[in-house]
């Protein structure tokens, strides 16, 4: 289920002194989580240069939606760091308030082909917010750089 909207509608970068704060939107929770992951990698690299060559299936349990969102993004960062993967598309297959199943598609970082713009340290729980708004969902996450 590739996202059709332009990148600007999927998330926006908020002003925050020390770090990177993202506000993410989605028509439903699955789209929200997919867009949050897209936003994360969109700030890491130029995604137009990333192809879909590998996939990683991710299953997570958490005690609430906020923790689930933080864990989901940190899980992707883990693959980015250990396997140098850059993800560009996400299929969130199952999502409830305490568990998630998703597939992330992308490829390994290649010197010369890909540009690393920002290297996040971790997605934090600080001021984490996942709220239902008219027409969908909105989340805020703060990333430690």
């Amino acid at each position: 289920m590739p996202m059709k909207e332009s990148a600007s509608k999927r998330y926006k970068v908020l002003e925050h002194t020390a770090d990177l704060a993202l506000e993410v939107y989605g028509r439903d929770l699955k789209e929200l989580f997919g867009n949050a992951a897209f936003a994360l990698f969109d700030v890491v690299t130029d995604l137009s240069r990333v192809e879909e060559k590998v996939e990683r299936t991710i299953r997570l349990r958490s005690f609430d939606l906020e923790e689930l969102l933080v864990n989901w993004l940190n899980e992707l960062l883990y693959y980015h760091e250990v396997e140098q993967l850059l993800f560009k598309r996400f299929e969130v297959k199952g999502l409830e308030s305490d568990n998630l199943e998703a597939v992330a598609y992308g490829e390994s970082f290649r010197e010369g082909r890909h540009l690393i713009l920002t290297s996040p340290k971790a997605v934090t729980h600080h001021k984490i917010e996942v709220v239902e708004v008219p027409g969908g969902w909105r989340a805020r996450v703060i990333i430690d750089l």
């Binding site: 002194t17 770090d19 864990n71 760091e81 713009l117 340290k121």
Partner: protein
């Protein structure tokens, strides 16, 4: 009186007791003297807050939530004397960055009070070199450093492959592990906080995932504000102290600023999950979920400390290995052995750490768990742990600034041991968000601008460079002047950058 927005608490968060601070919006702030401010104890605060700042810096501090965070930390169980903030304070996650909090045996240990980059810290090397000797080779020297010290995604020394058992040894031993393998000298250990090894490290408490991230990144610089910088001593404030540190005007020094990389981030993240549940289990009220913590004397508290010590030891090792490559790079460029170049370690300090230390509380020596989140230990002259070479002057306090202006070396004082659990500031602190910095940097040739100022920069990411433009930071001179004038550290020398490598 200052009005703030309350700390926003996650909506669906039920397991721990979270009280919404929205109802307690007002902080009562009083100026004590030109460099000290008090946040009056109110509501659920167990102690007052003390902020070190002058009036101008205080205005800047009030722009974000950092003072509210100082007050929030004061609500945690077992906190002793005061929740402290240094002049470089800015908004962090739960705990402010630039904060110090000490807890007695009834108190807590918190991953948020240490941060994601466990034992992010800095070291400074002196040298026998004069600026003139390296001036003409700066470009090539910076390139050599950039080649020898891995920076950026996936970069790693080809000659360095760690097995799991070796990694466990590294986590237990810290900098000693590196020295035993030929990275640096035995005497380097005398000039590292805790001799480069926090006791109580247990690799069994470090997740497989954190271990994996560690193996992939040992001996790497990382990105963001991490750097290796070649400096010239540009000003001396106290000749005698400078001589004891082996520093003179026009001399060359090197700074290494990095931390525990992905291993530390993973340990922090793993234990935030553990601590959110622990806080609920032990009935600890949290005003912000990122303050999650466990009693020092609990299974969760002990486990976090054992894992955090591993990450701290990883960071000491990392800086020790990078130091070795710095010495090799200089030696290669100058075609002289590094001993001859006098590239000796002045000191290595942690900026993000929790440690058990003994401090006087109401006249009695008391074992405390001191959290320094963006703060530096600053031992006074004569302290048992102050290294022999500095016994008469106090422990060196190393304060890196932004890449365009300057950095400082200070020493600890008796006042810091009376007031701040022997702590001082740690750096400049951002004033501009990363997005603001990027906008400011747009269309600029940052490398050229820096070169025009006489500073050669190599970085692996353009964004890193843009985010780290000097204007994005507080002027470190103002920060250092506050701690110097307040008496909690003493200025010795100023360093100016000649060359920088960044991740």
């Amino acid at each position: 009186m200052l009005r703030h927005q309350g700390t926003i608490v996650g909506a669906g968060f039920t397991p721990a007791l979270v009280r919404n601070m929205e109802k307690e919006l007002t902080l009562n702030i009083k100026q004590i003297d030109p460099y000290r401010w008090k946040i009056e104890k109110e509501g659920s605060m167990k102690v007052e807050g003390i902020v070190y700042a002058d009036s101008r810096i205080m205005e800047e501090i009030k722009r974000d939530l950092s003072l509210r965070q100082v007050a929030n930390v004061a609500t945690l169980p077992g906190i002793v004397r005061a929740s402290l903030a240094m002049p470089d304070i800015h908004e962090g996650y739960g705990f402010p960055i630039g904060g110090v909090a000490a807890f007695d045996e009834t108190g807590v240990v918190s991953p948020g009070g240490v941060g994601y980059d466990i034992n992010c810290g800095v070291r400074v090397l002196r040298s026998n070199l004069r600026r003139e000797e390296i001036q003409n080779m700066m470009k090539e020297l910076v390139n050599t450093l950039f080649r020898n010290i891995p920076t950026g995604v996936g970069s790693h020394r080809k000659d360095l492959k760690l097995g799991i058992e070796e990694e466990k040894g590294l986590l237990r031993q810290g900098a000693r592990w590196a020295v035993n393998r030929g990275y640096g000298y035995e005497r380097d250990l005398d000039h590292i906080e805790e001799r480069g090894c926090i006791q109580g490290a247990d690799p069994g408490e470090v997740s497989d995932r954190a271990m994996e991230r560690g193996r992939a990144q040992v001996g790497t610089l990382g990105s963001g504000n991490h750097f290796v910088e070649v400096d010239v001593i540009s000003e001396i404030y106290d000749e005698k102290l400078a001589r004891t540190l082996g520093l003179e005007l026009g001399g060359v020094a090197v700074q290494v600023h990095t931390g525990s990389r992905g291993l530390g981030y993973q340990v922090c993240d793993d234990f935030i999950g553990v601590m959110l549940r622990a806080a609920s289990k032990y009935g600890i009220e949290l005003v912000d979920r990122q303050l999650c913590c466990a009693p020092i004397d609990s299974e969760e508290g002990r486990r976090y400390f054992a894992a955090m010590a591993c990450a701290a030891n990883f960071a000491f090792t990392n800086r020790q290995m990078i130091t070795h490559w710095v010495r090799e790079s200089f030696s290669h460029m100058l075609k002289r052995p590094s001993e001859e170049l006098g590239l000796e370690l002045i000191y290595d300090v942690c900026h993000n750490i929790a440690k058990f230390e003994t401090h006087n509380v109401d006249g009695k020596p008391t074992k405390l768990c001191v959290h320094r989140k963006g703060a530096t230990r600053a031992l006074p002259p004569g302290h048992p742990q102050t290294p022999a070479a500095y016994k008469e002057i106090g422990q060196p306090v190393l304060i890196p600034g932004d890449m365009g202006r300057c950095s400082y070396v200070l020493v600890g004082t008796e006042a810091a041991s009376q007031e701040t659990f022997t702590s001082s500031c740690h750096g400049a602190g951002r004033v501009m968000s990363r997005t603001q910095a990027m906008k400011r940097a747009k269309g600029k040739n940052i490398l050229r601008e820096m070169e025009d100022k006489g500073i050669i920069v190599r970085a692996s990411g353009w964004d890193t460079l843009a985010e780290e433009i000097p204007e994005a930071y507080k002027d470190v001179t103002e920060v250092v002047d506050v701690v110097h004038n307040a008496g909690i550290a003493r200025k010795v020398v100023q360093l100016k950058p000649l060359g920088v490598i960044k991740g």
